[in-house]
């Protein structure tokens, strides 16, 4: 193998047959100044769905490259957290757990929380983490944070097997409500995407944003009812915390999967509205900042 020489072609390259992709003038690219309130180009996003798939595939591939350890980590992390919670909050502090065995109560909460937290983190670092792409090739930048919230779904799915095992062990039988459970993961996705969009765009401009995030993320589980039941709080506080969409995510997820207490419909509505408001704000901020990414990154 001659590794340092520039290869001299041995034979002419085969002629390329015309294909649908080569139809001439099939599309026109128009380049114009960025508008200050850019629309979301849904048809363009749709055309680039293949690339979104490739980004997700790349991240998963890299993550689980050394397969055994990769998957084990995905399972171990939430288990360990739930274990700590069980000892600290379940045994000593005797946190309320909606008449469910505390370990499974905590584990289910941790799963929903960890899905949110890793998608939010991935989405936030998605633009700055792909500098070589952002500065060298065009694609809708929205694909990056969207990919960021999709990748952790795989970890979540893997962990669900453990949850199922625990449900068998503790004899928790799910009702038909479990069919609604994906909706609460979707709510977590919307929340993570909204926050992640805004912060990924901010991170391009302000590199100290990522330092502030871990602090916030340490407090947030306490404000989301991950390790205790929100129903134990005074009702006034329940309404205040409803403005944090994650309360609905965690409560609703436990309600549909484990048969925990059902969320208050009014509080649920506030949470859902907040999540979509965050998504709208995040999208708007991201789209506004997007044209400057390559200049400032």
């Amino acid at each position: 193998m001659t590794e340092t020489q520039v290869p001299v072609p041995q034979k002419p390259a085969p002629a390329v047959e015309a294909s649908p992709e080569h139809e001439r003038n099939s599309d026109i690219t128009v380049i114009r100044p960025a508008s200050s309130w850019p629309q979301i180009q849904f048809n363009e996003l749709w055309r680039y769905r293949g690339l979104l798939g490739v980004f997700v595939w790349r991240d998963l591939k890299v993550r689980y490259k050394q397969t055994v350890i990769g998957v084990a980590w995905a399972l171990f992390q939430p288990l360990f957290t739930a274990l700590v919670y069980t000892f600290v909050f379940g045994r000593f502090a005797k946190f309320p757990s909606e008449n469910l065995p505390y370990p499974i109560f905590a584990y289910a909460g941790v799963l929903a929380w960890q899905y949110f937290s890793s998608s939010f983190n991935q989405a936030t670092s998605s633009v700055v983490g792909n500098v070589p792409l952002v500065t060298k090739v065009y694609f809708p930048r929205l694909l990056l944070p969207i990919g960021g919230v999709l990748v952790p779904l795989v970890d979540l799915t893997l962990s669900l097997t453990v949850l199922a095992g625990m449900m068998v062990w503790f004899g928790v039988v799910p009702s038909a409500l479990i069919l609604l459970s994906p909706l609460f993961i979707a709510l977590a996705l919307v929340t993570a995407l909204g926050a992640g969009l805004a912060l990924s765009a901010m991170t391009v401009r302000y590199r100290d944003v990522p330092y502030a995030i871990p602090l916030f993320m340490q407090v947030l589980p306490f404000l989301s009812g991950v390790m205790y039941s929100l129903t134990a709080l005074p009702e006034k506080w329940q309404w205040v915390l409803a403005f944090n969409p994650l309360t609905a995510v965690v409560t609703g997820w436990r309600w549909t999967v484990l048969g925990g207490f059902s969320p208050n419909p009014g509080q649920l509505a506030i949470s859902v509205a907040m999540a979509f408001a965050m998504l709208a704000v995040g999208l708007a901020y991201f789209r506004r900042s997007e044209p400057r990414f390559a200049d400032t990154i």
């Binding site: 072609p9 390259a13 380049i31 790349r58």
Partner: protein, 421 residues
């Protein structure tokens, strides 16, 4: 033919601050905001701005290969980034017809942990190839790259040569109708250039439209039919490559391929001879400023002999672009054995085809008398003219099909003989 790229008054403004500090910290912005709030009077000082690109308009027809040249900071990269949609213009508009692809570097998005096979899919998708297209070209890409059995090895274990070749190979099989290329790709091998620039048999009818950004004039001369010179963010010239390159060089180096002294008093010389003009010519005697390496090139010297009595001889000296002397030559023809009659003479020194290497050559011209062991100059024009030697890379020069760096002041096309023993 139809227009493939049309740009109308593209402009891009940067805040100077963006140049100085590409990104800041949130703390800086907050404290700046607070300062602004607390300040009184005329707080809104407009940011200092700079137009990296100003009213750039041009068109490229289908199948045209257009080069964009200019000094550093002229706006080449900004234009490239606007046309590839990596950044947006501040003003103006452009339209590109047909599927656009851009190659600003090779191996964009290559991930070291992934295998060669996986990176082909990754890089291909990022460039804009569909999965079907990659599947169809997959074997050809692997073949062309020569990585063969290492295709399922993570590319972090590749030698840098293999890595680059794989990356080039993907790029070479990327076939958009409009290709926007940065000069990093000019270092690829000849087959790559041919493929990606559509120089091979084009796909039915018009070839691929290519926009090629570079400050490597040699590459531009080789590849482009037409060139656009950018200076200070504006189009300074747009025309046939040779003319634009010549104009640019004359501006930057202050040399051209022709010099004429109209007044006897300005002309170099003494009471014996006086130079009138010097120019670079091709075989037909037309003035040229770029010479095909495979053709002879002439240095035409017009001078006047003012009195008789001395045997004068014209002489040239060539330097390559690094200032190294390529050679000296004096006219050895018998014409100059005897002192000439007073009058006007035109001598042309013919430099044979396939002698000079590529690059810019500068020429000293003297008219001397021989007084062994010395040459006595009577009329001297130092670095009087310059011209470019380029290789169109058709495979019939001394390089063969190799297109990498070719060292040497000269590069003769030798006769090689081989016998099997």
């Amino acid at each position: 033919m139809a227009v493939a790229i049309s740009a109308e008054e593209l402009s891009k403004r940067f805040r100077i601050g963006q140049y100085r500090a590409a990104y800041g910290t949130l703390r800086d912005s907050v404290s700046a905001g607070v300062r602004r709030l607390r300040a009184t009077g005329h707080v809104h000082q407009p940011d200092e701005t700079i137009w990296a690109l100003k009213d750039v308009s041009f068109e490229a027809r289908e199948g045209e290969v257009v080069g964009i040249i200019g000094p550093n900071g002229a706006g080449k990269s900004t234009l490239l980034k606007i046309l590839t949609r990596i950044t947006t213009p501040t003003e103006g508009r452009a339209e590109i017809r047909g599927r656009v692809g851009s190659l600003l570097e090779v191996g964009t998005g290559f991930h070291p942990e992934l295998t060669g096979r996986e990176n082909i899919y990754l890089n291909g998708s990022i460039l804009g190839m569909s999965r079907r297209e990659i599947n169809r070209n997959f074997d050809a890409i692997v073949d062309f790259s020569g990585v063969g059995k290492f295709i399922d090895t993570p590319v972090k274990r590749y030698s840098s040569g293999m890595y680059v070749r794989l990356a080039f190979s993907v790029a070479a099989h990327f076939e958009p109708e409009v290709l926007i290329v940065d000069e990093v790709l000019a270092v690829g091998d000849a087959d790559f250039q041919r493929r990606s620039l559509g120089r091979m048999e084009s796909i039915g009818g018009a070839g691929r439209t290519v926009l090629f950004v570079s400050h490597n004039l040699q590459g531009i001369l080789q590849l482009c039919d037409r060139a656009i010179l950018l200076q200070h963010g504006e189009v300074a010239m747009d025309g046939p490559t040779a003319d634009v390159v010549a104009f640019y060089e004359q501006q930057t180096i202050g040399q051209s391929s022709e010099v004429v002294w109209t007044h006897r008093t300005d002309a170099p010389g003494d009471d014996l001879v006086r130079l009138q003009s010097i120019r670079i010519v091709d075989e037909d005697g037309s003035s040229i400023n770029v010479a095909d390496v495979r053709r002879p090139v002439g240095v035409e010297i017009a001078f006047q002999v003012l009195r008789t009595g001395d045997a004068v001889v014209p002489k040239i000296k060539l330097y390559d672009q690094h200032g190294a002397t390529a050679f000296n030559a004096i006219d050895t023809s018998s014409y100059w054995h005897d002192p000439p009659d007073p009058g006007e003479y035109v001598s042309t020194a013919w430099i044979p085809a396939n002698l000079l290497n590529e690059g810019r050559m500068s020429v000293d011209v003297d008219v001397v008398t021989v007084a062994s062991p010395k040459l006595l100059p009577h009329a001297s024009a130092r670095l009087a003219v310059s011209f470019h030697v380029y290789d169109p890379m058709d495979g019939d020069s001394a390089r063969g099909l190799f297109s990498g760096q070719w060292r040497g002041v000269v590069r003769p096309l030798l006769d090689w003989t081989t016998e099997e023993r």
